[in-house]
Assembly symmetry: C2
Homo-oligomer: 249 residues x 2
């Protein structure tokens, strides 16, 4: 359960034990600061933030059908969201790393459309959505950031819908994971996979056996080095080439 080495990175918001301490990793902090809001505006955002956790491995943050009232930013750990199909098989919708927001897909129905479970020890910033929406009417920058986050998720959800080969899917998964880690200050090449092979398979819409085989082949081809859940990207360029079809860049 070791976390990848953390690269030093300037914290956008004071993290020195202040009473109004805000999630330094979360998507809203950057947005608000970049809009040049004064301290009192930030304070307003703070009052509707609730730090919750820790949630330990296997604990559910919410379940499908639960009443929706808050979105949450992951502060630490990994959250898996999933639904169960008619045969009770798991369909993984996504993995959410520190700094990423969950619950945006619940707004329209006022219910969570999926389950969310902690894959390791998870800490959250929880935001009352009604309060946040209200605040957003007075903070255009916050409103804009919410629109951006929602819009972004539409595009993300569409990525996996293509008919891609197992290799492309796996490569895209690893590259995307690498980038997301990097953006949050972790290593882009040495990743700790917090999810099981089965989870990866369910997410990528592949059989677990296929995940196993593809990873092994990637390793034999010198693309990656794999040891259990530790993965090193050895040939980022070639991996990105494979992922290109999916990630479109």
């Amino acid at each position: 359960m070791s976390t990848p080495a953390r690269r030093p990175r300037p914290s956008p918001i004071a993290d020195d034990g202040d009473e109004l301490r805000f999630c330094s990793t979360c998507a809203f902090s950057d947005a608000c600061l970049s809009q040049g809001y004064d301290k009192s505006s930030l304070a307003e955002l703070h009052v509707l933030v609730e730090h919750v956790g820790p949630f330990h491995e296997g604990m559910h943050l919410f379940r499908e059908g639960d009443e929706f009232n808050a979105i949450a930013a992951v502060r630490a750990g990994t959250v898996k969201t999933y639904v169960l199909d008619a045969e009770g098989r798991e369909q993984v919708l996504g993995f959410h790393l520190p700094g990423e927001v969950i619950g945006l897909d619940a707004i329209h129905a006022s219910r969570y459309p999926c389950n969310a479970v902690a894959l390791d020890t998870v800490m959250l910033c929880r935001f009352s959505f009604p309060k946040m929406a209200l605040l957003a009417t007075r903070m255009p920058g916050l409103q804009a950031q919410l629109f951006r986050l929602l819009s972004q998720d539409i595009g993300k959800a569409a990525l996996l819908s293509g008919d891609f080969s197992a290799d492309e899917r796996m490569a895209a998964f690893l590259v995307a994971l690498s980038r997301r880690f990097e953006r949050r200050g972790f290593s882009a090449t040495r990743l700790h996979l917090t999810m099981s092979r089965t989870d990866m398979a369910n997410y990528l819409r592949l059989a677990p056996e296929t995940v196993s085989r593809v990873l092994r082949r990637f390793q034999s081809e010198g693309l990656v080095g794999v040891d259990r859940r530790e993965l090193e990207i050895l040939d980022p360029a070639r991996l990105a080439g494979l992922a290109k079809a999916v990630l479109r860049d």
Copy 2:
């Protein structure tokens, strides 16, 4: 190019040639009225609406990479959104019927992430998004509706990402289309398909040959009747049964 018989339906907003005539089919009209806004608020919404069109078959409404400044509600016709993969093959992202909104996925990057083309004669309501967002700060109901629309699209985009059989995909496509037509006052059983088989195939991530075969089998099994682009759903229950795995209901 005949349209399905229109069922009489009470128009939510006066459609009697008023100067401030608003798209009676569009998602925003219901939202605003249901919030009980007075005439002046509605008027404010009207001033940022621009009725554009007609766009004829094959005309592009926007292209990937174009600068984003407006979302649009389809007033009439069908819009296809798509991207081209590295090999130049079309990946259809969606078909947009009257009353549905396009462009929400463009907000976060300020650029359209896809192409949009008219499949028949299309009329649009175009809304300047910056202006709409500004207005939304003074109309919480409008803001809420925008959040809902965005949130909804996240879920929609995720639907097709599962690994479903050709039969399930096709059934889900037809059932969803039927429901969307019905909601807008068209027949739920007799549909005119405005898109080609190839478009359907690209959307469903199947080969055109597979679409052809599945439709033929559906017909031979008495599920549907197909004649060119006219399709009649003969056994809605059984079709819905097939679609269940995808649509989750």
